[in-house]
């Protein structure tokens, strides 16, 4: 057997044991671990310590640190979800998630990327609300790290001539996420601030949220249906003229009140830094 393969087998064994749930004894006996090293032979691989720790206990030091480390990383991005679920359900969820999606990246920032979709189908209380909460928290994490761009100013936007508006496209900054949620997860997240933790009751409410960044601080804002629909069109790359026409032609609450309302929104969005510093004309 090549030396690298021998080392590879050793590394596979230790990793399998470290990642396994339960006690280290259970982990050592798991089928995958025992295939590489029979539990009775553990001390042939790892020396017992001169301070009285058995080989298994020494492996157990590493195994015992794995879950807390991963939980800490996930809690830094999903503080609200962890709080909502409470320690028992949160720990159960993290164990299941890690089993399905162990870290495959050099950075722990990537660890929670698939948690929103996972929690949607997980056995957790109020899974639909947890899904919304997780999506919102993931958006905050992504916006925090997104590349910085010089935003389009109100002045630059006002300088666009009417005939340019028809064909111009607004380029969104990377630090912007638009979310349609079935619950008011934003208000619930806000209730985490301060010591009172007076959480609002969880109830269904269609919410349209913007997550964006201003001066390196992540902001959240709820947006009315008509404005959100217009913004979605613009972010998707529709020329301003076409997006406006559609916004004014929609029915019900999705219909924008008029062109003046649109231009007020454009100014507001420019002040929020939602678009990059230049508008590109369509081909």
């Amino acid at each position: 057997m090549a030396p690298e393969l021998a080392l590879g087998g050793l590394q596979q064994w230790l990793q399998v044991v470290i990642e396994a749930p339960g006690s280290v004894k259970t982990a050592l006996r798991s089928r995958e671990a025992a295939r590489l090293v029979r539990p009775a032979r553990t001390r042939d691989v790892v020396r017992p310590s001169h301070r009285g720790l058995s080989a298994a206990e020494r492996v157990g030091i590493y195994q015992g640190m794995y879950l807390p480390r991963m939980m800490e990383a996930l809690e830094s991005d999903y503080e609200g979800l962890a709080h909502f679920l409470g320690p028992t359900a949160w720990t159960r969820l993290v164990r299941a998630y890690l089993s399905a999606h162990p870290s495959r990246s050099y950075t722990l920032n990537e660890l929670g990327r698939r948690l929103p979709e996972f929690v949607r189908h997980a056995r957790v209380p109020r899974a639909a609300f947890c899904y919304d909460l997780a999506r919102l928290e993931r958006a905050v994490a992504e916006v925090f790290d997104a590349p910085e761009a010089k935003p389009l100013t109100e002045k630059e936007l006002a300088a666009l001539r009417p005939r340019d508006l028809e064909r111009a496209r607004l380029v969104p900054v990377a630090a912007l996420r638009l979310l349609v949620l079935d619950h008011d997860a934003g208000t619930w997240l806000d209730s985490l601030r301060g010591d009172a933790h007076a959480h609002p009751p969880v109830r269904r409410k269609r919410t349209r949220a913007l997550v964006y960044r201003r001066r390196y601080g992540v902001k959240r804002r709820e947006q009315a249906e008509a404005a959100f629909a217009l913004l979605e069109d613009l972010v998707a790359g529709a020329p301003i003229g076409r997006a406006l026409t559609r916004a004014l032609a929609r029915r019900g609450a999705a219909r924008l009140a008029g062109a003046d309302a649109a231009f007020r929104l454009f100014r507001e969005w420019a002040a929020m830094g939602l678009f990059q510093g230049r508008a590109r004309r369509s081909a």
Partner: protein, 282 residues
């Protein structure tokens, strides 16, 4: 002076998020900062904004935790490219990581896992260090890890392994004196023998930190102050190396910046005494 001609940057600490505000609003009495590479590779937000400002005011060195140089998985070329880009952006004086592996089969445990110290592993790690150095176009600086287990197949001590690795691969050493103490406690070797056994002219940087003694073993928690025995070992090391870039790590229950700076500053007296005795590390 080390054999690479890399400068003695003086006394530094790790750049940590909780101190960003204090670092930007004042100019802490520090000589340099160590930057955790992975925290800045994929961000375009506030962390990178702060780092750019720190780089304008202080020298920095990059320190990674995910190179996984001892793993049997292929090296992550994308990671190495990002590391090289970050090193260029920050004008990093050197790039370090650990003598360890962090995962196999494409997975990452995000722990600094121990390697067996034998000839086969030495050949494997030597080959990988050379590949990393070729990719980064600079010498790699490797840190001795804290370890909680020893493999039965090991045939060399850690300091023998590191010495031979340095010779074979041409890499530098980041000697973590606290890790030497932690591993000596856990494995029962003489920490002074370790300090005396490493090649002094390969030592580019030193780490100091606090730890947590659990009785049966010590965990490298980077919490609190360094204990007197660790300072003694540092003194012994500096007597061999001469004044060398020194960094204090504090990663658990991190206190205000001033407290970390105060603890780091203790290293100055040992560096001064080394200079006074004329040690040049040769």
């Amino acid at each position: 002076m080390n054999r690479f001609g890399l400068p003695d940057l003086g006394i530094g600490i790790g750049l940590r998020t909780v101190h960003f505000g204090e670092i930007l609003s004042g100019r802490p009495a520090l000589d340099w900062f160590e930057v955790l590479s992975e925290n800045f590779m994929d961000t375009g937000g506030r962390p990178l904004f702060v780092l750019d400002q720190v780089v304008e005011r202080y020298p920095v060195a990059l320190h990674g935790v995910s190179l996984s140089v001892g793993s049997t998985d292929a090296l992550d070329r994308g990671y190495l490219q990002k590391l090289k880009t970050l090193a260029k952006r920050t004008r990093a004086r050197w790039v370090s990581d650990h003598l360890c592996w962090t995962g196999v089969l494409g997975r990452n445990t995000h722990d600094l896992l121990p390697l067996p110290y034998d000839r086969a592993t030495l050949r494997h790690v030597t080959r990988r260090v050379k590949q990393v150095q070729d990719a980064l176009e600079r010498p790699l600086v490797l840190e001795n890890p804290s370890t909680y287990l020893e493999y039965a197949r090991s045939t060399m001590t850690e300091w023998e392994f590191l010495s031979e690795l340095c010779d074979a691969a041409g890499c530098g050493l980041l000697l973590d004196v606290n890790n030497v103490y932690v591993s000596s406690y856990n494995h029962g070797f003489d920490s002074r023998q370790y300090i005396d056994g490493i090649p002094a002219d390969r030592v580019v940087q030193v780490h100091l930190a606090g730890h947590t003694n659990e009785g049966t073993h010590i965990l490298d928690t980077h919490s609190g102050r360094a204990i007197p025995q660790v300072w003694k070992l540092y003194e012994r090391l500096v007597a061999r190396t001469g004044p060398v870039s020194t960094l204090f790590e504090w990663d658990a229950s991190i206190p205000p910046l001033a407290a970390v700076v105060r603890e780091a500053a203790k290293a100055r007296r040992y560096r001064t005494s080394a200079r006074a005795t004329g040690t040049d590390g040769a």
